[in-house]
């Protein structure tokens, strides 16, 4: 970029603020906030990861080794909440912040100040949440679902947990409003909805899911709070309430929530595979409709999480078939990704490796999901390690692999430097090896009946748990390599071209690398 263009920009807008604290605290720039979100999520992945390592260290061998059962239970609970609300969701919001304005040819997010606010709530929310570990009675230990009445029987740190969940919810609702407003109003002329990159589409649908279900969750936890402290009895049978109702309200939020964690991943993979297959995405419009159908179906399948509470047969059949129906649009997506690669001239750079790992391993997780969808089988699998294996397959080599793929894919655009390709490949193969060592044995111990959320287990499960624990430490260690690769890439490396990848198409690849502080202040022309 020329010096003339630089000074021209400075006439209207300042570049990044020079003072470090002011720059990051007051920034309303979508790129700065994207960076903040991503670093925050990265930090939370390590916090949540450490909690997972406490769990796996305890489960390395049968018997009680390191932690007492109460602390173990608060580790499983907090690991989930930190990873979901502190890790995966902010990481996706960070990617949305960075990429959506550039992908649709807009100058910034539609509501930049709101954007600053929704980010800066998060560190406080997570700090409050994590601080419950230091309080009397310890952190929440009822499982991340906070089922009543169990969740109401812990210490008074419960009130802090609820407040922090409210903050996290407010943050993601504001983030979603911002994303929807951006996508609907900030597109460059000619960028019709059906021309938008798939990452933008999946985020638009995800944002609608968020504003629809996060408030329901907020309502549910508020009811918990008033049940505990203000004498209501929404979920207390003594006062005429019903604990099963909590499960219905929770999963009405909880099931769309799991698609919130995966739809942006579908978008990322749909950006990466065409680039490295050097072919346009196969079946673009069917991808959009499939995403929409998955979002719709997510609202009518919630009770498959509670087949064992005693529903009428008609209810169990409805939720079973509705759940199985989700395999159809998901199958369309997997088919389209494979068809995109069919006869493409593929190369296997790190982002592509992670995207391919996603397609293969997410599909594993999808198949075990189909097994769980069957009511009679689910009664056997319910609350066993089979469930743990299932949702970790869709979330770790699923959602998290897609986030890592996205980071490798766009890192040269963010920093202007290529990352170390050799280290990237090592990172991919060691992550893939260890993630399978970690989660694959859980299928077998689960089918054999090992229950979730218990710090001790029967001797027959010892070998597979040992492997899983080795896998966990290996996988955690591999992510330190990612940290090193990212820092190394920021510090320097081979200069990236504007297009970065030979097969890359889209507006974000037309701007300079690193992307200037302000992009598309005059809208680009869409052909």
């Amino acid at each position: 970029m020329s010096a003339a263009a630089d000074s021209h920009h400075d006439d209207h807008h300042h570049g990044p603020e020079k003072n470090f604290v002011k720059r990051w605290l007051y920034t309303t720039n979508h790129k700065d906030l994207g960076t903040l979100y991503l670093w925050f999520a990265f930090a939370m992945f390590f916090v949540g990861g450490l909690m997972a390592l406490v769990i796996r260290a305890e489960l390395f061998s049968p018997g009680l080794q390191f932690v007492d059962p109460q602390f173990f239970n608060s580790m499983t609970t907090m690991h989930a909440i930190v990873m979901i609300f502190g890790g995966v969701m902010p990481a996706f919001v960070g990617l949305a912040n960075w990429m959506i304005p550039m992908m649709i040819g807009g100058p910034d997010m539609a509501l930049p100040r709101l954007n600053n606010w929704s980010f800066w709530i998060m560190p406080f929310a997570l700090a409050i949440f994590l601080s419950t570990l230091l309080m009397d009675g310890g952190g929440p230990a009822s499982g991340w679902t906070l089922y009543a009445p169990l969740s109401l029987q812990g210490g008074d740190s419960f009130a802090f947990v609820i407040v922090s969940i409210h903050f996290m919810g407010i943050s993601s609702v504001m983030g979603s409003i911002n994303i929807i407003a951006t996508i609907l109003n900030m597109r460059a002329p000619g960028m019709t909805l059906m021309k938008m990159p798939l990452f933008v589409w999946t985020w638009l649908i995800t944002a609608f899911l968020l504003i629809a279900v996060i408030p329901v969750f907020a309502g549910a936890v508020t009811m918990l709070l008033t049940d505990r402290y203000f004498g209501t009895s929404f979920f207390s049978a003594a006062g005429g309430g019903d604990p099963v109702m909590y499960q219905h309200i929770f999963w009405f939020f909880g099931h769309p929530e799991v698609y919130i964690l995966i739809l942006p991943a579908f978008g990322i993979v749909s950006q990466i595979i065409p680039t490295f297959a050097r072919k346009p995405l196969f079946g673009y419009s069917s991808m959009v409709y499939a995403t929409g159908s998955i979002a719709f179906l997510s609202f009518i399948v919630w009770a498959h999480h509670m087949f064992t509470v005693g529903m009428p047969l008609a209810g169990e059949l409805f939720f079973m078939f509705a759940t199985m129906m989700i395999a159809v649009p998901t199958g369309v997506k997997v088919f389209n990704w494979i068809a995109t690669m069919w006869r493409g001239s593929m190369t296997f750079e790190t982002p592509m490796l992670f995207a391919l790992g996603f397609v293969v391993m997410f599909t594993f997780g999808g198949f075990s999901g189909l097994m769980l969808a069957m009511t009679p089988a689910d009664i056997q699998y319910h609350d066993t390690y089979f469930v743990v294996a299932h949702f970790h397959y869709v979330l770790v080599p699923g959602a998290i692999f897609s986030i890592i793929a996205a980071c490798y894919y766009w890192l040269p655009k963010w920093t202007g430097n290529m990352y170390d390709e050799r280290l990237g490949k090592i990172h991919f193969w060691s992550s893939t090896f260890f993630v399978n060592l970690l989660f694959f044995p859980m299928h077998f111990v689960g089918l054999a009946g090992m229950p979730r959320r218990i710090p001790d287990y029967n001797l027959q499960f010892a070998d597979m748990n040992m492997w899983a624990s080795i896998g966990a430490f290996g996988f955690g260690g591999s992510q330190l390599l990612l940290l090193y690769i990212v820092i190394k890439c920021i510090k320097g490396g081979e200069k990236a071209t504007d297009q970065v990848w030979e097969g890359a198409e889209g507006l974000e690849w037309t701007v300079a690398s690193p992307a200037p502080y302000h992009t598309f202040e005059t809208p680009p022309e869409i052909k």
């Binding site: 539609a110 504003i211 279900v213 408030p215 309502g219 049978a237 219905h248 529903m311």
Partner: protein, 179 residues
């Protein structure tokens, strides 16, 4: 000009979305009455019905059929009671009213307030089981160490499916924690 237009459109979209958020928060609360109504209609969770004595008198008594009604009573962990039915089971004619009773003794040396929550199994039978009078309609106050006999008057609807010849009425007694 274009920027101003864009700003007003953004504001409009944002306001609409805020309404959606507030609406969905309300919907979360709306699920409580919806759930209760659904449970009443379908008999989910074994919730039993209430009918008036007049309505109960209008039912036709089915003299050809016996239904065995069994009684159980449990105390929730927090309650200081000895709580049990006065009889284990009785045979009833559908359509006819019967009066039975439960006994509860306060084991604590202080006043406690309890609330019984009924449930009927099997689930299909619950909506055909109705009470005209029950100690579960209100919370019960117990003086220290007081023992009480508490009556229930119930009727089984003659429309009870033929496949059901036995049903269980169970009460769980909770300490409401009130003074």
């Amino acid at each position: 000009m274009e920027i101003l237009e864009r700003k007003s459109r953004t504001l409009q979209v944002s306001i609409k979305l805020v309404f959606v958020v507030v609406g969905m928060f309300g919907f979360g609360y709306l699920m409580v009455p919806i759930y209760n109504i659904l449970c009443d209609i379908t008999g989910l969770n074994g919730k039993t019905g209430i009918i008036s004595t007049v309505q109960a008198g209008e039912l036709v008594i089915d003299e050809d059929r016996w239904v065995n009604v069994e009684f159980t009573g449990t105390v929730n962990v927090s309650g200081p009671w000895d709580f049990k039915p006065g009889q284990d089971s009785i045979k009833v004619r559908p359509g006819k009213q019967y009066k039975i009773s439960y006994t509860a003794k306060n084991l604590a040396d202080r006043e406690v307030v309890g609330q019984a929550v009924p449930s009927v199994a099997p689930r299909v039978a619950s909506k055909y089981f109705s009470k005209t009078e029950c100690f579960c309609f209100t919370s019960q106050v117990f003086e220290a160490n007081e023992e009480k006999d508490m009556p229930v008057v119930f009727v089984v609807d003659p429309a009870l499916p033929k496949s059901v010849d036995s049903l269980v009425l169970s009460y769980t007694f909770f300490d409401t924690g009130e003074k």
